[in-house]
């Protein structure tokens, strides 16, 4: 499907979500509550069949924390972006999608490590790179006076 | 006979007579023991150093490199420098290692190698003892070394060492069979287990030529199984560095490591020397049936040179294996032994027996 077809299909299928055409891909933003169900649908629906999660990024949007999922369908070769945000900055939590795409399990661990986003129902949520004593360095409010030299 | 000039019997005999005349029999025998022991020690140490150097140069040539070049001309003193380094290194022992066994293991390994080397005939008269079950003794003694390896792996309190030792145990036990059976093939052909008789039997033609097809098959099997028994690549599972770091000697350092290292090279020498003796005529020069003048020229080359030439050739072939092939997996090693080498070997013994019975040989 082209981006436009994809956009119209998604709009009619997911009425709750906020769908727009980004710079390259169709972007769909869902609420934290609808995330897991949407992810399942995106993978299961024959016309979509987004079975390949190629990138999972945690982003600190200052006022809220978000996860960006880049999805591709191996069969149809179309790409879309799924976003989920949570306004809770103190203990942000989203549902895991690692049961939908296995690779998300590890990317979520990375996001948890670097941004401190907790994933509900994740089977093995440990820090990926850093020691437990570290903060979450990719958060915008992260300060480290010793190791970061501002210029 | 021309090669009598090179016979050591007169020399050793005169030493013996001289000693017996000047001392009481007990003292004379003791002195003889000491002389023999020291000369073997010296030989092993020097030849071991040379083999390490040769291995490094040979592997460098296979890999389009130069190898050691810094210490001495063409790096000739490199192994001596390495040895001094190993002597000076701190001996580290893991905290929970079994003190007694940990320290015992290198000695077992190296003593087993020394025992095996005693039986080898280097030249006429240059053999420390020559008894009628020589080959039997050799196969028995050469498998003692594995006990040392097992002890080393067990006592190091290291999982890698243990895996390496267990692999080594399984491997050597299996391949001992092939080594013995391929030697047995040749024993049938030679009609003797005594090394001197075997060498004498190859005066006219080396066994690998006179025994033709079965001898060649036995030779190939012996090379493969011998390589496996010395734990060398492609059968170096016991110390597979990409899997087990250094296998059974992971926790050994300094002199104790040097002993394992030396033992490995002595074992390489023993296997090659046995191959040279049993299949390639030992110190016998190359003779062709009725080419009198050719045979005569060959006789002028001393037997020691013949022996070491053959040994070095076999060592080169084994090194060639090591620097060409990938390592086998542990189950493949056993498959190779039990599904390929053993049946072929058994059939080969039958074939050899037929050849001997029908006198279908040269």
């Amino acid at each position: 499907m082209t981006n436009e077809e994809l956009q119209s299909y998604l709009t009619e299928r997911f009425t709750e979500a906020e769908i727009k055409l980004g710079t390259q891909y169709v972007e769909m933003t869902v609420t934290a509550a609808a995330l897991h169900e949407t992810a399942l649908q995106l993978k299961k629906l024959d016309k979509l069949s987004f079975d390949y999660l190629f990138c999972l990024t945690g982003v600190d949007y200052a006022e809220n924390m978000g996860i960006v999922y880049h999805l591709e369908s191996v069969e149809h070769r179309h790409v879309m972006v799924l976003k989920a945000k949570t306004a809770d900055r103190v203990s942000p939590a989203l549902d895991t999608v690692s049961d939908v795409w296995i690779t998300a399990k590890y990317h979520e661990r990375e996001a948890y490590d670097l941004l401190g986003i907790h994933f509900n129902n994740h089977t093995d949520l440990r820090r990926m790179f850093l020691d437990d004593s570290w903060g979450h360095p990719l958060r915008k409010d992260y300060v480290d006076e010793v190791r970061i030299v501002e210029r | 006979m021309a090669f009598n000039i090179y016979d050591f019997t007169t020399l050793t005999h005169s030493i013996h007579v001289g000693l017996a005349e000047s001392f009481s029999p007990v003292v004379a025998t003791t002195i003889e023991w000491v002389i023999v022991g020291v000369s073997y020690l010296l030989f092993v140490a020097l030849f071991g150093l040379f083999l390490v150097y040769a291995e490094r140069k040979v592997c460098a040539a296979f890999q389009q490199r130069l190898g050691p070049m810094r210490v001495g001309p063409w790096g000739l003193l490199q192994t001596i420098a390495d040895f001094i380094k190993l002597l000076m290194k701190e001996l580290i022992m893991p905290r929970k290692a079994d003190w007694f066994l940990y320290n015992l293991a290198p000695f077992i390994v190296i003593i087993a190698s020394f025992m095996a080397i005693a039986i080898l005939p280097f030249a006429p008269g240059l053999q420390s003892f020559d008894f009628d079950i020589g080959i039997f003794y050799l196969t028995a003694v050469s498998s003692v070394g594995v006990i040392g390896i097992l002890i080393a792996g067990w006592s190091s309190n290291n999982k890698y060492s243990l895996i390496g030792a267990m692999r080594s145990g399984a491997q050597i036990l299996s391949y001992e069979l092939s080594v013995s059976l391929s030697l047995l093939t040749m024993v049938i052909f030679a009609g003797s287990m005594q090394f001197s008789t075997i060498v004498e039997g190859q005066r006219d033609a080396w066994f690998i030529f006179s025994g033709h097809i079965p001898a060649m098959i036995a030779f190939i099997i012996f090379l493969i199984a011998g390589t496996a028994e010395t734990n060398r690549g492609p059968f170096d599972l016991a110390e597979a560095e990409s899997e087990l770091v250094a296998g059974f000697h992971t926790e050994y350092s300094g002199v104790k490591f040097a002993m394992f290292f030396l033992a490995e090279y002595i074992n390489l020498f023993i296997i090659s020397a046995v191959a040279a003796t049993v299949f390639l005529g030992g110190w016998m020069p190359l003779h062709f049936g009725n080419l009198e003048s050719f045979n005569h020229v060959m006789d002028f080359i001393p037997p020691v040179v013949w022996f070491f030439g053959k040994v070095l050739f076999v060592i080169f072939v084994i090194m060639w294996f090591k620097w060409t092939f990938p390592r086998l997996r542990v189950d493949q090693i056993l498959t190779l032994e039990w599904k390929y080498l053993l049946p072929i070997n058994l059939v080969n013994i039958l074939l050899m027996a037929l050849v001997v019975l029908t006198k279908f040989h040269f």
Partner: protein
């Protein structure tokens, strides 16, 4: 220790004949500082748990503080064996955001450089694979041939590995006058050496016995785990970004996407060997036709990307490499994410190695071609 305790708790205690072995972070076959917690039963691997972070350098954090042209030199240091592709991904992403069209000459040179990097990377992989299998001689043959490519890089780019040759808008320098001659010499040379690789290792009965049927990764698993690159293609996963999202001069050249459906170590091995032939043919198609023109577009002194999100996917030597830039209109990116192929590939290891021997674990890890700085970033 804590992990060991954890495993004991998580796995209803270890059975008496099982034990845990730490492979790495200092282990000859983990190629750097990867640590694998392996649960063994004798020689059999029951479970592999990779632990990362030993060489985490915070590149994504650093990127937030520097400008777009400066990001490029950091990407060199992630997957240092496919530095060109990483550089190119950032350069393409910035160009896409700024809507800059680079001259054809740049596209051609970038593609040639990509393929040379791929060759160099696969050569290194081949020799290291041989070494992991215990054939040490391959290591020197592979490096000997790779040296020639690195010389080409050094002459044109000024560095051998951390090349930093791409910049947003073009290239750092024009190609060196000797470049074409040297590349052609290399191709003729390497076409004589590649069959030797086959003779020495590919055909070898020991290798084939060791690799066949080992480390099975089905197509579904490959997609699920996001295993891309040669490792994914050996499972039949058509994931070549050069075909699916062509960039630079890839739309102009003819090449095959090497796919294999045997899914095992041998397939991964052969896919890489065949890819080397493909890379040679791509370079041959381009090297004589490099168009004249500028080697870079004149860019502004300070690059500011428009507000928005930009994603660029390229095919690096070990899989799909992605750059995701979130820009808020300033000269520094708001968030940069590198989708590194090794990260996704590595976690399929447990799936593949379960039930095989230790030696197979090493071989499987080797065919995944892991570069640890690429995983840790």
């Amino acid at each position: 220790m804590s992990e060991i305790r954890e495993v004991i708790i998580n796995n209803d205690r270890l059975a008496t004949d099982e034990y845990l072995v730490n492979m790495g972070p200092q282990h000859p076959s983990t190629h750097g500082v990867l640590r694998l917690l392996v649960r063994l039963e004798g020689e059999k691997v029951l479970n592999v748990q990779p632990h990362t972070g030993y060489i985490h350098s915070g590149i994504e954090k650093m990127c937030e503080a520097i400008t777009y042209p400066q990001i490029i030199h950091l990407t060199d240091r992630m997957d240092y064996l496919s530095a060109h592709m990483n550089n190119e991904a950032v350069a393409l992403c910035v160009e896409k955001a700024l809507q800059v069209e680079v001259p054809d000459r740049v596209k051609y040179i970038r593609t040639i450089m990509d393929e040379l990097s791929r060759l160099a990377s696969h050569q290194l992989w081949w020799c290291v694979f041989g070494m992991d299998m215990g054939a040490l001689t391959t290591f020197f043959y592979g490096l000997r041939d790779r040296e020639k490519i690195l010389d080409i890089f050094e002459e044109t780019c000024g560095a051998r590995m951390t090349v930093s040759y791409n910049t947003p808008g073009g290239l750092m320098f024009d190609i060196h006058p000797n470049f074409q001659k040297r590349v052609k010499e290399f191709i003729t040379y390497f076409r004589t050496k590649l069959p030797e690789y086959d003779k020495l290792l590919s055909g070898n009965v020991i290798l084939r016995e060791r690799a066949e049927g080992i480390g099975h990764l089905s197509l579904k698993d490959a997609i699920d785990f996001g295993v891309t690159g040669p490792s994914g293609r050996a499972s039949g996963f058509s994931c070549d970004m050069r075909k699916h999202q062509p960039y630079s001069a890839y739309p102009l050249v003819k090449f095959k996407e090497i796919l294999d459906d045997r899914c095992d170590t041998l397939a991964r091995y052969e896919v890489r060997i065949l890819e080397m032939y493909e890379s040679l043919s791509i370079i041959e198609q381009l090297i004589d036709n490099i168009p004249e023109g500028d080697y870079a577009v004149k860019m502004k002194g300070v690059l500011k990307l428009p507000e928005g999100e930009f994603y660029q996917r390229v095919e690096s030597a070990r899989g799909e490499f992605g750059v995701y830039i979130v820009s808020d209109g300033k000269k520094n990116p708001y968030r940069v994410k590198f989708r590194s192929p090794g990260f996704s590939n590595m976690f399929a290891l447990n799936k593949m190695a379960k039930g095989h021997k230790i030696a197979d674990l090493v071989a499987i890890m080797s065919t995944l071609d892991l570069i640890i700085p690429d995983i840790d970033r």
